[in-house]
C-alpha cells in the first residue's frame, strides 16, 4: 500500500489536488458532494462487503474479555492496530434455508439472506454431488440500498474478486435481483485500466476517446432497442439488462470525468495461478481502496475465493503445501495440526482485511478518516468447515458509519440471525424504514446493542 500511503499523504492538501485533469467543470456535478466533503455535511457513507471462505476456527477467532476490554485471539490479532474502529460480532448465525449444498448456498445467502432458486440449472461447480439449483432469488444488501438511494457516483457499485470462481451460484454473492449476479473484477491490472487508466492522456485525447465510445454505445443502444421488440418474452430480460448496462455506461461517459492518482500496482502476474494470490490480493486491495478514495463509487465488495471446494488450493506462501484448504477444513476438531494450519490461513485473512482498512484509514476526511465514514462488513459463508455449521459465523464490522456507530467493541450474541445485522446496516445507510431483510427473515428490527 505504498501508493496509497502516498495518496494519503497528499490528502493534507485536500482531495482536490488528487482529482486532477478533470475536463470541464460542468461535467463534475455528480462529484461535487465528494469534492466538498472537506466540510461537515454531505460526507458520503460507504458500504464495503468483504468475503473470505470456509468460516473460521472459532476458539482461535473469539476474543477474550468483555465488550470494551477484550483481547484479540490469534486469528484476529493482525487487526490489533484497527481495534478501536472495530465491532467484533460473535454468535451470529445464517439461516441457511433452501436448496444447494452448504458451500454452494453460503456465499449467495451471506448478503442476500435469501435462498437459491429451486430450479434445475446448475450442479455443483466442483463436480461433486449432483443436485440441481438455480441462481439466487433476491438482491444483496448493497444493491437493495442502491435501489433506494442513488449516490450519483460514476459507478453504483464496484465488485472485486480474487480467485472468485466461475459464473456459478456458489461463486457469486452480489445480486441486483433474482438471477442477476454481478461478477467481480478479478484482474486488478485490467480493472485498473478500466477504472482509472485513462489518466495520463491529455484533455483532448480523453475527449476524443470518450466521443468515440459514446458513438459506439449509441449504435449498441439502437440495436438493443430494435431487438427488444423482436426477442421472445422469455429472453427479453437479457436484452433489457444489456440495454440498461449500456445506458449506465453512456450516462457515466456523459456526466463524469474522473481522473485521480491511482495506486501503483506493481508488475502484472498471472492472476489464475494460486501461488500468485498474495501479489494479486495486494494489488486488488490497493485498487479497491483507491477507487473508493477517488470517489468512483461508495459501494464495493471483495470476494476472496468461493464457498465451494476450489480444489488444489494450497497456501504455499504460508508454508502450507500438502492438504488443500478446503480439505483441511473438513478435518475433525481433534486434529490439532489441522486447526493450527487453518488458524494460520485465517490470520492471513485478517492481515489482508487489516491492509484494506489501512487504505481507508489513511484518507483524511472531515475530522477523521474515510474509514470512519464507512461500514466495512467482513463475513463468511458458514461458521465452520467440517460440520458445515451456519452457527457462529465470524463477522467483523469496521468503521464508524459517519459517527453513527460506536466502535472498539466485542459484542456477543447467542445465536442471533444475521438478518438483524443486515437490517442494522441498511438503516445506517439510510433505509430507516427497513425492518426485515431477506426471504429467510422471520423477525424484524436491527441487531440489538449494535447501533
Amino acid at each position: 500500500l505504498r501508493a496509497l500511503g502516498r495518496l494519503a499523504s497528499n490528502r493534507r492538501f485536500g482531495r482536490r489536488q488528487l482529482l486532477t485533469g478533470l475536463g470541464v467543470s460542468t461535467a463534475l456535478a455528480p462529484m461535487l458532494p465528494l469534492l466538498e466533503a472537506e466540510g461537515q455535511e454531505a460526507r458520503p457513507l460507504r458500504l464495503i462487503l468483504w468475503f473470505t471462505p470456509h468460516g473460521t476456527v472459532y476458539d482461535n477467532w473469539k476474543p477474550s474479555g468483555g465488550q470494551t476490554d477484550f483481547t484479540l485471539g490469534p486469528i484476529l490479532k493482525p487487526l490489533e492496530r484497527h481495534r478501536a474502529k472495530l465491532n467484533i460480532l460473535d454468535g451470529l448465525k445464517i439461516q441457511a434455508d433452501g436448496v444447494g449444498a452448504p458451500h454452494t448456498k453460503g456465499p449467495p445467502l451471506l448478503w442476500t439472506a435469501s435462498p437459491l432458486n429451486d430450479d434445475m440449472t446448475f450442479t455443483r461447480a466442483d463436480g461433486s454431488g449432483g443436485m440441481y439449483y438455480g441462481w439466487n432469488s433476491a438482491p444483496s444488501l448493497d444493491q437493495v440500498i442502491l435501489g433506494q438511494l442513488d449516490p450519483g457516483t460514476p459507478y453504483k457499485s464496484l465488485e472485486f474478486g480474487v480467485r472468485s470462481g466461475g459464473n456459478h451460484p456458489g461463486s457469486r454473492m452480489i445480486y441486483t435481483g433474482a438471477e442477476t449476479p454481478l461478477a467481480p473484477e478479478t484482474n486488478p491490472w485490467a480493472a485498473f485500466k478500466r477504472l482509472i487508466g485513462d489518466i495520463g492522456k491529455t484533455g483532448e485525447e480523453l475527449e476524443q476517446l470518450r466521443a468515440e465510445r459514446r458513438s459506439v454505445l449509441d449504435v449498441l443502444d439502437g440495436e438493443l432497442v430494435a431487438l427488444q421488440s423482436k426477442i421472445g418474452s422469455a429472453d427479453k430480460r437479457k436484452i433489457d439488462a444489456h440495454l440498461s448496462a449500456v445506458r449506465e455506461i453512456e450516462t457515466r461517459l456523459q456526466n463524469s470525468s474522473i481522473a485521480c492518482e491511482g495506486p501503483v500496482l506493481g508488475s502484472e502476474v498471472d492472476a489464475n495461478l494460486s501461488s500468485n494470490t498474495p501479489v494479486v490480493m495486494d494489488a486488488m486491495i490497493s485498487l479497491m481502496a483507491s477507487s473508493l478514495a477517488c470517489g468512483l463509487s461508495h459501494f464495493a465488495s471483495m470476494q476472496y475465493r468461493v464457498g465451494e471446494n476450489d480444489g488444489g488450493y494450497l497456501y504455499d506462501w504460508l508454508g502450507l503445501t500438502t492438504l488443500e484448504h478446503h480439505l483441511l477444513t473438513h478435518e475433525p476438531d481433534s486434529n490439532a495440526a489441522a486447526r493450527q494450519d487453518l488458524s494460520t490461513i485465517y490470520a492471513w485473512y485478517s492481515e489482508m482485511f487489516a491492509k484494506f482498512l489501512d487504505g481507508l484509514d489513511a484518507v483524511p476526511e472531515g475530522n477523521g478518516t474515510m474509514l470512519d465514514n464507512s461500514i466495512v462488513v467482513w463475513g463468511s459463508e458458514l461458521g465452520k468447515g467440517n460440520s458445515h455449521s451456519f452457527d457462529k459465523v465470524p463477522f467483523v464490522v469496521a468503521g464508524g458509519a459517519g459517527g453513527q456507530l460506536p466502535t472498539g467493541r466485542y459484542l456477543q450474541y447467542a445465536g442471533v440471525e444475521h438478518n438483524r445485522l443486515l437490517v442494522s446496516i441498511a438503516k445506517l445507510m439510510g433505509l430507516a424504514e427497513l425492518e426485515k431483510f431477506g426471504a429467510t427473515d422471520s423477525k424484524s428490527g436491527g441487531l440489538t446493542g449494535f447501533v
Binding site: A101, N117, D119, M120, F122, T123, A125, G127, S128, G129, G130, M131, W135, Y155, E159, G165, G166, N167, H168, T176, E179, T180, P181, L182, A183, N187, A190, K193, R194, Q208, E212, R213, S215, V216, L217, L220, G222, E223, L227, I231, G232, A234, D235, K238, A241, A245, E248, I249, N272, S274, G311, G312, Y313, T321, T322, E324, L327, E331, P332, S387
Partner: protein, 563 residues
C-alpha cells in the same frame, strides 16, 4: 426462470437405493439426502421421460417437436475462435471477458444476463481488437487501398464484415447505422471510421448473442431455424466458431434447408481441421478437465508437476480425441479403450514409454496399463487430490460424466476429508470405511468400487504396482450400470466394459446433445433422442455418425418460440 425440464420425481421413483447416512462421529443426520437418481442408464434403470411417446410409436414423430432453447451468448472459447477466424487474431482476447456460465457439464451462458462489467469488458476487448486489426492490415481488412478508401469502400466493408460477424447479411437499417458511425468519425481518417465500425460490430448483440429471430408461419410455436441461423448453429456445434463464407453461401442459397444440404456441409465442416476446436472443448468439459488442472500438486510427492506437464496432459487428451473422432474410426469404443496415444514426450515419459510414434502419429502403449481417455494423465490428475489419489472423485467422474448418474450432495455435516496418507496402508485400505460403514455405503457403493479400479495410477497418472510398498489391489465393481454392471480388475478392464456399455452410449449421446445445442434435452426432444440412439447404434457407435445425425435432427433444425 429455467423450466424444470427433467422430471426428477418421475425418475427417482424408478430407483430406490439405500442412501441414508450418518454423520461422521456421532449424531444422526437430520437431513438425509434423497436417493441417487439414474438418468443415463439403460435397461431397468435407464428408462426416463425422454422415451418416445406412449406406445413407442414413431408416427407421433412425423411432426417436429422440440424443447425451448434459451438465448445464449458466445462462450469465451467461441469468442476467441470467432475473432481468430474473422481477424486472424491468435491471442486469447476472451481472457479479458467475464467467466462463462456452465449448464450441466458445458459452458453456455444461457441464464444470467450481462452486467455493466461484462458489457464494459466486451467494449474494452473490442476496442483493443479493432485497434490491432486496422493497425496490422487495413487494406486487406477492407479490400481497398489508397484513394479507393472512401465511404463506399467503408460500406462494402460493413456489408462484408457484418455478414461474417453477425453470421447473416446485415439489414439495410444496420448498414445505414454503421455507415453513419463511419461517417461521423471519418473526418479523422478512413482508418478511424473503419476502426469504430469494427469496434462496434465486435460488441454488437448480433455478434455476442446467438440470436435466432426469424419468425415462422403465423401462430406456429415450432418453427424452422432459418438458413443463416442454421449455419451458425452448425458451425458453433462442429467448429465452436462462426460460419465460413462457403457455409454462409450455402445458407444464402437455401441449400441448408434440405437435410441433405445440411448434412453435406456438416461433413465438410467435420473434415476441416477447425472441427478440432469443438472436439477439444467437448472433451475437456465432458471429462471435467477444464479448470481442474490449475491446482497445485504436492511438490514433494510430484516434482514433475507444473504448468508444462499440465499443458502436455491436456494436449494429449485433446489430440487423442481429435485423432479418434475425426481421423480414426470415430468409435466411442476406441475413445474409451484404445491401447495407444498421440501424446508428446513429457507425457510419454510419465507413462514410461520411449517408443517412437508410428507414421500416423500414434504411439503404442502397454495394453495392460492404458486404455483410452480414462487412463490418460489429464483425467487421472484432475480427479485426484494434491497429495494422493481419490477413489471417490474418480468414481464420481465416471458416474456423473460417463454414466450420467445424478447423485445427491453428501450430507451437510459429513466429514468428507480423505483419510490422511498413511505410509503403512494403501489408499484403498484407507477408504474402506466408506464401504464398511453402512451410513456411507448407501451412496459410496456407487462411487468407490469404481474409483478403486484406478488405484494403479497415482495422483498425476503415473502407473504403479505398489503403494507404500504394498501391492495395489485394483479390483472393483460397477453397480447399477445396466449391462456393464459387474466386478472387474483394474481400470483397463473397467474402461473396456464402459466402452461398449449401453448406459455410457446413452450418456455420451446426451452429452453431445447438451454441448451442441447448449441446453438440456427436454421432453419434447424425445423423438430426436430416439432417432439419435438408432443412428448411433447403426453406425456401431461412431461419434461422427452421431454428430451428423444430431445436426440434422429436428432438435437442431427447429426451434420453439415460447418456453
Amino acid at each position: 426462470v429455467p423450466s424444470r425440464i427433467i422430471d426428477l420425481a418421475v425418475i427417482s421413483a424408478l430407483i430406490t437405493l439405500g442412501c441414508t447416512a450418518r454423520i461422521a462421529g456421532t449424531a444422526d443426520v437430520t437431513d438425509a439426502p434423497p436417493a441417487p437418481v439414474l438418468t443415463g442408464g439403460s435397461g431397468s434403470g435407464g428408462s426416463t421421460s425422454l422415451d418416445p411417446p406412449a406406445g413407442g410409436s414413431m408416427a407421433d414423430c412425423a411432426t417436429p417437436r422440440v424443447a425451448y432453447a434459451p438465448l445464449k451468448r458466445l462462450t469465451r472459447a467461441q469468442y476467441d475462435n470467432t475473432v481468430r477466424d474473422l481477424l486472424g487474431e491468435t491471442g486469447a482476447p476472451s481472457s479479458g471477458l467475464a467467466q462463462d456460465e456452465k449448464l450441466a457439464a458445458f459452458y453456455t451462458n444461457a441464464v444470467s444476463p450481462v452486467t455493466r462489467l461484462s458489457v464494459e469488458q466486451y467494449a474494452d476487448v473490442a476496442e483493443q481488437l479493432a485497434r490491432r486489426a486496422v493497425a496490422q492490415g487495413l487494406d486487406t481488412l477492407v479490400g481497398c487501398s489508397g484513394a479507393a478508401q472512401n465511404a463506399d469502400c467503408a460500406e462494402a466493408f460493413v456489408r462484408a464484415f457484418g455478414q461474417r460477424a453477425f453470421r447473416r447479411p446485415p439489414s439495410e437499417d444496420e448498414v445505414a447505422r454503421y455507415r453513419g458511425l463511419f461517417e461521423k468519425h471519418s473526418a479523422r481518417g478512413f482508418e478511424t471510421g473503419v476502426r469504430l465500425v469494427l469496434q462496434a460490430m465486435l460488441q454488437s448483440p448480433s455478434f455476442v448473442y446467438h440470436l435466432e429471430l426469424t419468425p415462422g408461419p403465423d401462430g406456429a410455436d415450432v418453427v424452422p431455424v432459418s438458413g443463416y441461423e442454421l449455419a451458425a448453429r452448425l458451425s458453433y456445434a462442429l467448429w465452436n466458431s462462426a460460419p465460413d463464407p462457403e457455409l454462409l453461401d450455402a445458407a444464402g442459397t437455401g441449400a441448408l434447408n434440405a437435410v441433405q444440404g445440411l448434412r453435406s456441409q456438416a461433413e465438410r465442416l467435420l473434415k476441416s481441421d477447425r472441427a478440432r476446436d469443438a472436439v477439444a472443448s467437448f472433451h475437456l468439459q465432458w471429462l471435467g478437465l477444464e479448470g481442474k488442472l490449475d491446482g497445485v500438486k504436492d511438490s514433494a510427492s510430484f516434482p514433475a508437476w507444473g504448468p508444462s506437464l499440465v499443458r502436455a496432459m491436456e494436449q494429449e487428451t485433446v489430440d487423442f480425441a481429435d485423432f479418434v473422432v475425426r481421423r480414426g474410426d470415430g468409435r466411442l469404443q476406441t475413445l474409451l479403450s484404445a491401447p495407444f496415444t498421440v501424446a508428446g514426450p513429457e507425457v510419454l515419459s510419465l507413462y514410461g514409454v520411449s517408443a517412437a510414434p508410428a507414421p500416423d502419429g500414434t504411439v503404442a502403449l502397454d495394453p495392460t496399463e492404458r486404455a483410452g481417455l480414462l487412463t490418460q494423465a489429464a483425467f487421472l490428475s484432475a480427479h485426484a487430490h494434491s497429495n494422493q489419489t481419490s477413489p471417490v472423485h474418480r468414481g464420481l467422474a465416471v458416474r456423473k460424466n460417463l454414466l450420467c448418474t445424478e447423485l445427491p450432495d453428501p450430507p451437510m455435516n459429513v466429514d468428507n476429508t480423505p483419510p490422511e496418507p498413511d505410509p503403512t496402508a494403501t489408499t484403498r485400505q484407507r477408504f474402506e470405511q466408506h464401504r464398511t460403514n453402512a451410513s456411507c455405503a448407501g451412496c459410496h457403493r456407487l462411487l468407490d468400487p469404481i474409483g478403486v479400479g484406478f488405484e494403479s495410477y497415482d495422483a498425476i497418472g503415473a502407473y504403479r504396482v505398489r503403494e507404500n510398498g504394498l501391492e495395489i489391489d485394483a479390483t472393483g465393481e460397477l453397480l447399477d450400470a445396466g449391462s456393464a454392471s459387474g466386478t472387474f480388475n483394474g481400470a483397463v478392464e473397467l474402461a473396456q466394459r464402459l466402452s461398449t456399455s449401453s448406459a455410457v452410449r446413452d450418456c455420451v449421446q446426451k452429452q453431445w446433445f447438451r454441448f451442441s445445442l447448449g441446453r438440456f434435452e427436454g421432453d419434447e426432444d424425445s423423438c430426436t433422442m430416439q432417432r439419435l440412439s438408432e443412428a448411433f447404434a447403426a453406425s456401431d457407435y461412431d461419434v461422427k455418425a452421431l454428430l451428423l445425425e444430431l445436426v440434422t435432427s429436428d432438435a437442431f433444425r427447429y426451434r420453439k418460440v415460447t418456453p
